[in-house]
Symmetry: C3
Subunit: 329 residues, 3 copies
């Protein structure tokens, strides 16, 4: 160890996991909308959805007897000339259900598939199994190192998965793109009873977020099952974003807009970010160190946070307000 250290600390870097700073960003996936694979009307409607990601569902939204028909419907849609504007994802059935092999092989063979959501990911081997099927069935550009590697979403739905989450997050290199908190199954497995405060979920959601970020992955928050209450959805979405989630599952088209607005930065935070950015740069040019703005000490990490907020606003199509030297004095 000492030998390599002598050559300089720039070589001292862990290889087990990497912070987001040193990796490609995961795709922007604010709302991830499930569309029941067995419902032709909803499948058709999904093509016009503004959701950042559409997850064509072969799992919980499809009853066992309807699985083969749903698989066929989804495969036809994913292989057609038409596709939604957002990411094209399929949620297959979990390993061990007996449906998963046909599900996965079928969707991987389609033209438009970009991502696969794997329910009940309880072990890193399950991720590696998906990777082995990608290697067997997909064209080179969808394989590791290709132009558009197929993305895998690891769905965390059990105590076992949470205990193994670091090993899961380290699996499927180049393909694993996000971890997802599947609250209903997770709570059933752990024995958690949900409350309106969601305090009982804080540990579990926080651990998922920090693990995802440590491995350069996105973090997708729970479904708001109360799909008729946009205000409850807004509150829950904003809370998830504050915890560090990068997006949220939607089970109804009318949830998409609320979620996507919540996961875009607020006007106030964009304005603040623009002011921090300008004042920091002016201050730095003048060769000064830490300084105050609105009674708060501004330093390098706050500057980086401001840059990140501005980048998200740009990605969400929100204009950045102009700020002048006068505004930050």
């Amino acid at each position: 160890m000492l030998a390599s250290l002598k050559s300089g600390p720039s070589r001292i870097t862990g290889t087990r996991c990497m912070s987001t700073a040193t990796q490609r960003a995961p795709v922007m996936r604010r709302a991830m909308l499930y569309v029941p694979g067995s419902n032709p009307r909803m499948l058709e409607k999904s093509l016009a959805s503004p959701a950042d990601s559409i997850s064509y569902d072969l799992e919980d939204a499809v009853s066992p007897s309807a699985k083969p028909a749903a698989r066929k419907l989804v495969a036809e849609l994913l292989d057609s000339e038409r596709r939604p504007k957002g990411e094209v994802m399929a949620r297959i059935n979990a390993v061990g259900t007996g449906f998963e092999i046909d599900d996965l092989d079928t969707v991987l063979r389609t033209r438009n598939i970009e991502a696969v959501a794997l329910p009940k990911t309880n072990d890193p081997d399950q991720i590696e199994w998906v990777v082995s099927r990608i290697d067997a069935l997909c064209p080179p550009e969808k394989r590791r190192g290709g132009a558009n590697p197929l993305r895998i979403i690891g769905m965390i739905e059990s105590a076992e998965a949470m205990v193994k989450i670091e090993r899961i997050a380290a699996a499927g290199k180049g393909h694993l793109d996000a971890l997802l908190f599947a609250a209903e199954d997770y709570c059933a497995d752990v024995g958690i009873a949900r409350t309106e405060s969601r305090a009982e979920l804080l540990y579990h959601r926080s651990k998922l977020v920090v693990t995802a970020k440590a491995f350069g992955l996105g973090a997708i928050d729970l479904v708001c099952v109360n799909y008729k209450d946009p205000e409850a959805l807004r509150v829950e979405s904003e809370e998830g974003r504050r915890l560090g989630f990068t997006g949220k599952q939607a089970i109804h088209p009318n949830q998409v807009d609320v979620i996507q607005r919540a996961y875009a930065p607020s006007e106030a935070s964009i304005l603040k970010a623009a002011r921090v950015k300008l004042s920091f740069e002016l201050n730095d040019k003048a060769g000064k160190g830490a300084y105050g703005l609105d009674g708060v000490m501004i330093d390098a990490p706050m500057y980086k946070q401001a840059l990140s907020t501005i980048a998200m606003a740009v990605a969400a199509g929100i204009p950045i307000p102009e700020v002048t030297e006068k505004d930050v004095q």
Copy 2:
């Protein structure tokens, strides 16, 4: 890896820990009542206790000078013809106190002993030491693989234990039955000061719960030291249950009833579970997928949670209300 994977994903299962779904259930242990081993009147009274579990205490409730007499009293009771209705447990003194060998060997030789609580379990080796004494002293039916393997309760009382909790949970296979959160010693070790909100304990209790569940173990919540306030006890008990604990320690007989009621499902939740169960089964028979009930989307995980609630009600002796097709439309 790939060779075994090719034979099908049904073989892709982790071996390090297992979710509750794939293991025997831990025993129902809603209230675990400590009875001071040095107090003949309380020992006698314990025989009539309705508690799911009685933990005859040789540790904190017994002063050092009274240890040998208490050990003798407890051994006589545990070896007699009479026993309480609930589980018969002994809490021995911690490893390193100098009392633990005599405590353990004495209680393991008794006829009625069913479980041992091990205080200050800071390392998996301590669990394995208990197992080695079971193998040496107990009849075959109390050993691993026997009809009634003696159960071990691992008491988590320090920062070190929490950092090693996954290794502790993996120890004592076939004997380790539950992890227990010993708040007083734990807070003293970590430097936590308790508040009425218990927010400062949320991380620690949640981590214990999810680890216990990942290894198929029960999770026993903290003592409510405020033993004269049944309302505070009720609130604390219900909170623990929502976090996923399966039971709670009691230090006074008048705490047992409140705890056991809190850890049984509520009438409202049983009714809701019965409605979810029926509507899901009707919907499934009709070959439909996800659907709404009372404005909430019902799917497979919610159905499983409903089944679990009903099973707990049955175990606690609570009648399940009858629900008809008309009630779920």
Copy 3:
């Protein structure tokens, strides 16, 4: 394993980490005040500071162009006859910035240096690099096993660091003295947006605290950037202390007093501790076990917590109230 176990459970002790009970205490470091290394007036003023620890800052408070001048100023101060009453610490620039080698070597060569804060500690190897420089540059008494080993503060500022925190805490044996929660950079990396409740930080702060304690280290809480609001600072300081932190960063001299008062035990808690101590000792002398005081059951762990509170009060120079037998009946 069984062979060693047979020789008695007193040899059953983990070696991976140790609870505070079995290690030297970390130094008392209630307030850790940053002083910008580039500001001669503030450097001079720091010599009169009552802070338990002064961290001469070469990192965020110093702009890149001012780094060499700041390094020289700090080195001169740390090598002079004068020193502040508290611990003398330097915060160097992070590994990978290009400044860190000159920073570290320069401050290690000074007479008064007692501790080094290492920003963005993302890997245990970074700690070991600091140790290797201590071995190369410091006199024997500042090396491992010496009379005053130089102390290292590991600053946790990223998701990666949190995921590796147990390995970081196990590094730099004999030198690593505390882990520090660097909220601004941490939140930017994880994507957390701060709120006034700080609920979004609870998981992260709690995990840092319990890991630090498991390895016998101090735990230093976040900066209160709102440096003009002493009441907000007080609330935040007391909260940190309840979570188990042993101290808190300060970025302005006027924060020191509020923090150091908050991290000293309150009069009420000292009085309660004195009452618990006396009543427990009286009860123990009388050979009785658990008993009640003010409606709360008092046992051995509560006694130990009381002793710890009294020890902290003594260290902070607060008088212990006299309690007599009559006061605890």
